[in-house]
Amino acid sequence: MMRDITIGQYYPAPSVIHRLDPRVKLVGTVVFIIMIFCIGNLAGYVLATLCLAGLIRLSKVPIKFMLKGLKAIFFILIFTAVLNLFLTPGTAVFQWQFIRITQEGIVMALKMAIRLTYLILGSSIMTLTTTPNHLTDGMEKGLGPLKKIHVPVHEIAMIMSIALRFIPILMEETDKIMKAQQARCADFESGNIFQRAKSLVPVLVPLFISSFRRANDLAMAMEARCYHGGEGRTKMKPLKYYSRDYVAYIVILIYIIAIILLNIFFDPIQTMIFARLGL
């Protein structure tokens, strides 16, 4: 159950995407997510789908693994789609008492579902192909200029990397504690929602305690190795751009321009073609 959540997990594979500079991947992901919400017509979605498919292919992460990440947001996905389907005003296609499905509703529901799915897939490509350490390194370097206005960039990056680092550890710990309680015949599966919530107490209490213990140990270990914040700290592997990174930046730029151009010109072209075909 715990292993189903793929967001924030790294999947090692020898691919170009894995080797890219984390800053490129960060920028790319942010651009991709923003552009999803800027797409205005079908052609834009086709382009986004093609790009996404291409990226997944390039990353060499099995598609099955990638889709597993969607399981976690399945409920939100359905929820948003259903809300949009029934609550968007417009021309009705179907009406039964107070239930009303509109044309706009169907389009909106589909759009939201696609956007959410792509959002998750886009960000999973980044997290699956970048180690958490690399990611925060990229973030620290990328946000470096903000230091001038006294944003504690290094500290934020450190907090992030520790938080990310602890996700798998805490998952493993949860798994272990659940098993230990199951060995004492604890039942997590049956009963109503309140009984189930109550049955989690024997898991949550030890989990909290162990988190505090780990945090304490970590702080001690960092201090023992003279950690004192970002001031004057050097990196073992400083980030450096290679030619492939510049190529990736150009691809990202082309993607932005393509989406914008499609937004502006596709609709007139579509009307023109339809007009030619006599539709």
Partner: protein
């Protein structure tokens, strides 16, 4: 109450980059009333194996029989099995959660649906069995020392009155006294309550002293099986897979090489002492004085 494993295989995260075969074709029989030691290097599959015995992990392929009943059959009561095969995990003190020691020990019997009186009676008995003093019973488990916490955790499993007790490195991180106390108590449970015990350990001395039969694991399969004396005879092979024999075994082998008439298969200090004394032509009288 025998447990029988037939061709058990287990693969972690199949069909992914993290895929790893943790158990390979395990065939094993654990007979009623045995005291078994399970040894193997880190990552050899010991912990995975013991979690199969009470059904916490389901084998990828193969069969496990408890009392000749297939535990993977749909009508088999797996939760009931967990009460019969008590499993004490590594660092079990990390699972304590209740307000008081006593309540924590009651957790297991409570889950079995027993009456309150019965639960409390079992908790009292279990706490006595592990030798925790009565004055600690109403304390918060987090106020106790490491060794005491571990006793509470073991009591938490014993309170379910299991027929088989499995302990995964019950002595890791304890001081010598705490270690001996816990091992003595386990051995007492075996002798007096006739409990089947499986002890996972990294200490060759401990297993040599207590267990009847040793199972050696290497890279997910059973590498060797036999009494401690039989197994430790092959100390060269054991070293090759990252294990060793008890230190006295080395002493005895060296003495035998040097021409002393000692049996090199002695594995406990007590045996070694009597062997050495008899080789030196003295009567076996000092052995009672020197205790491990």
């Amino acid at each position: 109450m025998s447990i029988r494993l037939e061709n058990v295989n287990y693969v972690y995260s199949p069909d992914s980059a993290f895929c790893k075969q943790a158990l390979k074709d395990i065939n094993l029989e654990i007979k009623d009333g045995e005291f078994i030691g399970l040894i193997g290097h880190t990552g050899s599959g010991k912990s995975t194996l013991i979690q199969h015995l009470n059904g916490l992990i389901r084998a990828t392929s193969g069969r496990i029989y408890y009392n000749e009943q297939d535990i993977y059959e749909s009508q088999f009561n797996l939760r009931g099995l967990r009460a019969l095969v008590g499993l004490v995990f590594q660092y079990p003190e990390h699972q304590l959660f209740e307000v008081t020691v006593f309540k924590d020990v009651c957790f297991g019997p409570n889950n079995l649906g027993l009456s309150k009186d019965e639960c409390e009676a079992r908790a009292r008995e279990a706490l006595r069995l592990v030798g925790l003093k009565k004055k600690h019973w109403q304390k918060s488990p987090f106020e106790l020392s490491g060794g005491q916490k571990r006793r509470v955790a073991i009591a938490g499993v014993l309170a379910m009155k299991p027929e088989v007790l499995i302990l995964d490195e019950p002595t890791a991180g304890l001081d010598p006294k705490g270690r001996n106390d816990i091992l003595e108590q386990i051995s007492k449970l075996h002798r007096e309550e006739h409990m089947t015990v499986i002890l996972v350990s990294h200490s060759m001395e401990d297993v040599a002293q207590y267990v009847d039969r040793l199972v050696v694991m290497n890279r997910g399969s059973v590498f060797m099986e036999g009494t401690p004396a039989q197994v430790f005879k092959h100390y060269v092979e054991l070293e090759r897979i990252g294990l060793a024999a008890p230190q006295v075994t080395y002493v005895m082998h060296r003495l035998a090489q040097e021409g002393y008439k000692v049996d090199p298969d002695a594995t406990t200090i007590r045996e070694a002492v009597s062997e050495i004394l008899s080789a030196l032509g003295k009567k076996n009288e000092g052995s009672e004085v020197i205790q491990p």
